[in-house]
Each structure stands twice: as C-alpha cells, then as structure tokens.
C-alpha cells in the first residue's frame, strides 16, 4: 500500500520520489521527470517540498501545517472541511493533528476495548502461508526435494488448521 506510481502533479508515471522532514513532519512526493525538472527539484538549493505542496494543492494554509495522506491523497484541508478522514492510513499521516486532541475528545487516547481476534489470526495464517509458499518455491528451485516435501506437508497442515477454524483468506 502507498506505493503511488503516479506523479502527484500531472498523474504521469512517477520516477522521482522525495521525502523531506519539515517541522518534524514527514512529507512525501512522487513526481515524473518533467515536473521534477520544472519545479527545480533536482536543484538541492532552496527546494522545499512543503512549498511545492502548498502550490500544488492551491491552499492558503501555512506550509508547516500541511499534511497529506500518501495512501489516499486526502489533505489537511479536506480534513478541516469535513471533520473526517480519507482512509484508515490517514491516521498515520494525520497523527500530529489528531493525537493531541484525542484526550479532549475521549476518555483516553489508547484503545481498551475489543480486539478483532479473527482478523489478527487470519493475518498470522496469511503470513505463515505466504512464507511457506515462498520457501517451497525456493527449495524446488534449488532442488532440495526433501525440504520441499516437508514444506508441502506443513502448508497442508496450516490449510487444514485454517479450515478447522473456518478462516478463509
């Protein structure tokens, strides 16, 4: 997730990927070659990602205030307008804005309630299967057939355990 392949300014394939830290906030930008050259990104002197973001989002906000979700493109301006976020990942990118107000909004700032056990269990199984499949392919490629047989049996066992718990991927 989040590996945006398009230029943030013109939506052409991005080849220049930038990360800058301004006022302890991480700003990321993906640009195509043309836009990067036009904006003087390759010039190390005086280029500021925040300035560029301000211009590209046509915002009058102060540069230091601007946060953008790298996953869904939701901006701080959108948040101000709607009071809602764009996607679950926004909570990572908007943390500097949200975390300080959680305590005033709620009884605390840490979750004390239900945990989705099924989802976590599924994630564990998913990763286990992914890992086993990769190892299996690798052992076949390397002609380590004894390992491959063992891995195949393990995979089968994991799948059976999942079926028993009626977990599907």
């Amino acid at each position: 997730m989040g590996n945006s392949q398009k230029c943030d300014l013109c939506a052409k394939p991005a080849t220049v990927h930038l990360t800058q830290i301004v006022n302890n906030q991480i700003h990321k930008l993906d640009l195509c070659e043309k836009c990067a050259a036009e904006k003087g990104v390759t010039d190390p002197n005086g280029f500021s990602l925040a300035d560029l973001l301000v211009k590209s989002s046509d915002s009058s906000d102060k540069a230091g205030e601007l946060l953008v979700c790298e996953n869904c493109g939701f901006t701080q301006k959108d948040f101000k307008k709607t009071g809602r976020l764009g996607c679950p990942e926004c909570y990572v990118y908007f943390a500097p804005l949200i975390d300080p107000v959680l305590r005033t909004m709620h009884k605390g700032d840490t979750h004390m309630g239900k945990v989705p056990e099924g989802a976590i269990e599924r994630k564990v199984f998913h990763e286990r299967i992914h890992h086993l499949e990769e190892s299996l392919q690798a052992s076949i490629k390397a002609e380590r057939y004894e390992d491959a047989a063992r891995l195949r049996d393990e995979l089968l066992e994991v799948r059976e355990a999942m079926a028993a718990k009626s977990i599907s991927l």
Binding site: R84, L85, K107, G113, K114
Partner: protein, 359 residues
C-alpha cells in the same frame, strides 16, 4: 415495493414490558467498522464504494442472523421507502444520501441491521424493545465477530477500530436508549437532566438524532466517547445514568400526581379527546398527544390494552408511514386529514380515561 416484507412484520416497539421498559422504549448498540486498505465511503469514488459493497454483501447475507432478511441498494429505493426506513430507525439519513454503492441488510425480525457505505464501511446495529443492554451487547458482539471472520477490519492496536470520524475511534461503539420522559418535560426538568448527563460524557438528542426536536417527549441518550474505555465500561456508565433518569422520571410522575393532579388529568384527558376527535392533525402534534396517552397508560388512567396500539401509532403516524397507509394516493398536504381519520378510527371504541384524585 422492495421493503414491503418489513412493513407487514412486527414493529420495533412492542413485546412484554417490565416497569423500566415502559420508559425505555428501545435499546440499541451500533458498531462502526471499516475494511483495511479501502478509502472511507465519504472520500471513496462511487466505483470504490461499489467494490466495498460487493466485498461485504456476501459475508453479511451469509450470516445466520440475516437468514430470510431484506437486502437492497439505496439507489433502488423510492423516496417513500427511504423515508419509511428512516422513520423506523432502521436506516440512517446519511446512508440514504450516499450516491452509489450504499446498501443495507436487515434481519427478518428487524433487530439486526448492517448498513454498508454509510459514514463508515460498516455500521452494524442491534435494536431491541425495552431496556436490555446485556442482551443487545451479546448480540452485536456475536454479529461483529462473525463478520470479522470474513472481512479484514481496519484496526490499530493503539487507536482500536479506525473510523472515518475520530470521534468514533476505539470501540466504534454507540450505545443508546430511546426514552419516553413526559413528566420530566412537563415539570421543566429536562434541561437540568441534559446538562448533568453531558458532564458525564453522555449525549441527549431528540427522536431522530442530532438536531432533531424532542416531540413526543422521546429522547435518545447515548455515550459520547468511544476511546480509552472498554465496551463494558461504557455500557456500565451509560446504564447507571439511564437508571438515574428512569428514577427521576418516576419521581416526577409521582410529584405531578401529588401536587398538580388536575393539570395532569387535564393534559391526558385533552390529548385523548383530540386524538379521538380531530379532523386535521400534524405528525408532531400527534406525537405529543400520543406521548400523553402513553403516560396515562403507564399511570393506570387508561387501559393497558391500548399500549401496543399507541406504540404502533407512534410509528404509523409519521409522514412516510401515513403516505404508505394511504396507498401513496394522497398529496402531502392531505396527510394531516388522513392521519386524523386514521386516529379517529383507532380511538373510536376505546374506553375513556379514568382519573382518580389521591386523598
């Protein structure tokens, strides 16, 4: 009409009642849940919402709770159907306003509802008549755990269930009770109650949520905060507040009966007479009169037998329901005439209220 089966079925307010159940009309808990790696409905494009809808629908329709339930997309409903579902508190206004990809599943008994692509991807609710937080909590918890087996929720160990609005973070839970508080309203104590419970992190709203008025002296009382406490703690806090309000309402009724019986009898008697004899009546006026008649039933002045029909009338006299009962053949400005006629027929053969002054 897509929603026809619902209208023929048992309504949300009915069933056996304990003393507290006469004041708490319904208990409701809703969970807000979102799918990982999908933009929230408000920010998503219509095709992204449709993707979420088709990812969620099979899982929800497959739940045993939803067997023989009703499922539809909002775009397929008429305006009247939308209004009726809102009036029954089955579906929110916000869902109805979503363009493209908004849908819902309602269980056969209407106690379980899952809305898809409302403010969050999933808004699940369990609603039961009376004061039953434990039962409702168990039911919603089972529903949620089943759904969670099939769908990947957006969850952070620190912030809990991630929701479109930070005010729902954490448990994503809103627990609420619909309360009928006519004596607190009549004795001008409601404002005081609202101020007191607000300080405890509990919100008080009118019948239709934020910004709606409290016609019929019906209030929705719910938790305001969702993060930093477990579901059980929130319910415990809310329940203790509700119990206090229930006692205050009973006290207010006793006080009215002792100090101003004439005023109380006059109000209830007039309400009964108006419902029995009107020829033009708005839904808001109807709600207020029905509320007083219901109070009369609670206080033993009017026969207990009519309780269920009064509760049914609270639902049936709302604008969308009246339009439906009139076979959609009347103009909106004729609703007040139709409603009055409908009420006259319902109140025609009822025994008059009986008022007894305490010595």
């Amino acid at each position: 009409m897509i929603i026809e089966p619902l209208l023929k079925a048992r309504p949300e307010i009915s069933g056996e009642l304990s003393r507290k159940d006469t004041i708490v009309l319904t208990t409701r808990i809703r969970f807000a849940r979102n799918l990982a790696e999908h933009p929230f409905p408000g920010w998503a494009k219509a095709d992204q919402r449709k993707e979420v809808l088709s990812a969620c629908l099979p899982s929800i329709l497959g739940l045993s709770q939803m067997k023989s339930g009703l499922s539809a997309e909002v775009d397929d409903l008429s305006e009247l159907e939308k209004q009726i579902l809102i009036e029954r508190h089955l579906i929110s206004r916000e869902l109805m306003e979503m363009k493209g990809g908004a849908g819902f599943v309602i269980s056969k008994d209407q106690s379980n509802v899952v809305m898809i692509n409302e403010e969050d991807h999933l808004r699940m609710q369990v609603l039961l008549p009376g004061f039953h937080f434990r039962k409702v909590m168990n039911a919603i918890n089972v529903l949620d755990s089943k759904v969670e087996k099939c769908l990947e929720y957006a969850f952070s160990p620190k912030l809990g269930y991630l929701t479109a609005c930070p005010t729902n973070l954490g448990t994503g839970m809103r627990a609420s009770a619909m309360m009928h508080l006519p004596a607190l309203v009549m004795s001008n104590q409601m404002e005081k109650v609202i101020r007191a419970v607000n300080q405890l992190g509990i919100a008080v709203r009118g019948l239709f949520g934020e910004g709606s008025d409290a016609s019929g002296s019906i209030f929705q009382i719910s938790n305001q905060t969702t993060l930093g406490e477990s579901e059980a703690e929130i319910i415990k806090r809310l329940t203790s507040v509700l119990n206090t309000i229930i006692e205050q309402e009973f006290n207010a009724r006793e006080t009215l009966l002792e100090t101003e019986p004439t005023k109380l009898f006059d109000k209830i008697g007039r309400a009964f007479a108006l419902l029995q004899n009107s020829y033009l009546i708005t839904s808001s006026e109807t709600m207020n009169h029905l509320s007083l008649v219901r109070l009369g039933v609670d206080m033993g002045m009017i026969s207990e037998e009519i309780r269920s029909s009064v509760d049914q009338l609270f639902i049936d006299c709302q604008p969308g329901h009246i339009q439906y009962l009139a076979d959609n053949k009347i103009e909106p400005n004729e609703r007040d005439i139709f409603r009055a006629a409908y009420l006259r027929s319902r109140f025609e053969n009822l025994t008059k209220p009986e008022f007894i002054f305490k010595k």
